[in-house]
């Protein structure tokens, strides 16, 4: 396999983890987060620091997930105070704060970022396999959560918080759980990213990335694991497959986001469901 293919598949795997984990927070549990990139970044920075301090691969992965989950749980508390669009604004704030803070920190490399991060020792191919394995586990985990009691509770919180509360669902605890799980997975992706590039800067984890991840979730179909996986793969490969799209990436993502919300709010999953329905009727 060519070096290009390996790096492309690695990026696909990372985006699948990120989109699926965002879908747990925003899709399953309905807590709109436009700052998912910040948790990805927190994971990457924590893993990079751990690796430089001499930690092994497993320790770096744990460090990355833990750092992101801690940050994520703190942000999760915000979801107990504010709802819907105001939670979205708060998470946008988190995203800008993260990049604004990291850029000014000398111990995090400042504007220059952290380079020469020790590798995993698996080589590019090994890294790719590790990323894809974790992506597969994340997707399986997401399917499992979707069918579990927790998934039901998430959906209840998402659809009508007050009704869920009346039914005895501990709304706050489930929101925090969604944030903790989703951001831990984003941190895991961050740690994998640190292995993959061995070089990180704050700009990689900016607000635009968070918007792109949200675009993947919305285009895939909010709350549908399969749809989001398909969207993450397609939207990562599309700019590579069609060369001119690469230059117009944000234009295409923004345009798709607007069109999908406006014309097919169910995304890919919704379209598939409608198609299955109409064929079943005939």
């Amino acid at each position: 396999m060519s070096a290009y293919g390996i790096s492309l598949l690695s990026v696909v795997g990372l985006n699948v983890i990120l989109a699926v984990s965002l879908n747990m927070i925003s899709g399953f549990c309905g807590q709109i987060s436009l700052g998912h990139g910040a948790f990805y970044g927190a994971g990457a920075y924590a893993a990079a620091l751990a690796l430089i301090a001499g930690a092994g691969v497993a320790a770096a992965l744990i460090c990355g997930s833990a750092a992101a989950a801690i940050l994520g749980t703190i942000v999760g508390f915000a979801s107990l105070r504010v709802r819907s669009d105001f939670l979205a604004v708060t998470t946008i704030g988190v995203s800008f704060l993260f990049t604004g803070f990291v850029r000014k920190q000398a111990w995090l490399g400042g504007e220059m970022g952290i380079s020469n991060i020790p590798g995993s020792g698996f080589g590019a191919m090994g890294n790719m396999i590790m990323i894809l394995l974790f992506a597969a586990v994340t997707v399986a985990f997401s399917f499992y959560i979707g069918r579990s009691w927790m998934g039901f509770a998430f959906r209840a919180v998402s659809q009508d918080e007050d009704a869920a509360k009346t039914l005895g669902v501990n709304v706050g605890a489930y929101k925090l759980a969604a944030f903790a799980i989703g951001t831990a997975l984003a941190g895991l992706a961050g740690a994998l990213y640190a292995f993959f590039t061995q070089f990180i800067t704050a700009d990689t984890f900016d607000f635009i990335l968070s918007v792109m991840l949200m675009a993947m979730v919305v285009i895939g179909g909010v709350g549908s694991t399969a749809g989001v996986v398909i969207a993450a793969i397609l939207l990562t490969l599309l700019p590579e497959a069609i060369r001119f799209v690469n230059n117009y990436r944000l234009l295409v993502f923004g345009g798709l986001l607007v069109l999908v919300i406006r014309l097919a709010p169910g995304g890919i999953a919704g379209l598939a469901r409608r198609l299955a329905w109409s064929t079943a009727k005939q």
Partner: protein, 289 residues
């Protein structure tokens, strides 16, 4: 004199924020939508200003063109994007709005280049007045004057004309206003038109001040404006005005006091997050967030 220079810069930025944010807070007051793409209209205004100014050789002509064209665009955004989404949860139109912002900013980059467009004849950006030892840029004075004229005009319009009173009535009590014969939909169009024109004016002035209009001109401003309207109590023009000036000042002085560990643009978000956590309903208490 350094501190006074900072105050001048803070004040002029505050005026710019106020012109940018007033349309946003009124859109929120009317529709309960966080109109993030307002920043794209700000950028559109800046681009129209620079392009027309370069083509015609007159900066004033550029600003006029921006003020004339952007209201049409603002009304189109309402009609094509927000109106069909009004029945959804408020985060749906907001995400669509973010999508539109990203799309438009990238369209500007593709159409006019990564480096942006500079003014060819911009005498104002480099004309510095020395008032009792304080150095003031001509564009900063223009920002101040524009903001005073705009807000005085808005005040007159909303207190002394029938249309303006109807507008105000619809923002505070849409149903009662409708039952008194105010056409709520036309008020929305009016609101988008005026808000967009003010954002375009602010965008054009920022372009003049920097002597450059680049594709990222709207990004940071957009989220700052969100911070301002939350700080100002959503839907309140007076609160927005105060919050804009306060943010302009805090940023101006903040760069010397906290600039070593946090960049200038992040200050607004610290304030925003802190306020949302302490008082999710905003200062005015008008809204349940």
């Amino acid at each position: 004199m350094y501190y006074i220079d900072l105050a001048v810069s803070g004040l002029s930025f505050g005026c710019m924020y106020a012109m940018m944010a007033v349309g946003l807070t009124l859109v929120y007051g009317l529709l309960r939508i966080l109109h993030v793409a307002h920043a794209a209209i700000f950028a559109l205004g800046a681009y129209i200003t620079v392009l027309v100014a370069n083509a015609s050789g007159s900066v004033g002509f550029g600003l006029l063109a921006a003020i004339a064209v952007t209201p049409l665009f603002g009304m189109a955004v309402y009609r094509l994007l927000y109106e069909p989404l009004l029945s959804y949860r408020p985060d749906v139109p907001m995400i669509a709005s973010v999508g539109l912002l990203v799309l438009m900013q990238d369209a500007f980059r593709i159409a006019f280049g990564e480096q942006g467009v500079t003014f060819q004849h911009n005498a104002y950006a480099f004309r510095i007045f020395d008032i009792a030892g304080v150095r003031v840029n001509a564009v900063q004075i223009a920002m101040l004057v524009c903001a005073i004229v705009v807000f005085a005009g808005l005040h007159f319009f909303t207190t002394h004309t029938r249309i303006g009173i109807g507008w105000r009535a619809t923002v505070s009590r849409p149903r009662i206003a409708t039952s008194f014969g105010v056409d709520a939909v036309r008020v929305r169009y009016l609101n988008f038109a005026i808000g967009s024109a003010l954002a375009a004016l602010a965008g054009g002035l920022v372009g003049l001040l920097n002597n450059l209009v680049d594709p990222v001109i709207g990004y940071v401003v957009s989220y700052k404006a969100l911070a301002i309207i939350v700080l100002g109590g959503l839907g309140s023009v007076r609160g927005t005005l105060i919050a804009s000036l306060v943010l302009g000042m805090v940023e101006s002085y903040g760069t010397i006091f906290v600039g070593t560990w946090l960049n200038r643009d992040a200050i607004a978000f610290v304030a925003l997050i802190a306020l949302l956590m302490i008082r999710p309903q905003g200062f005015s208490g008008a809204r349940t967030a």
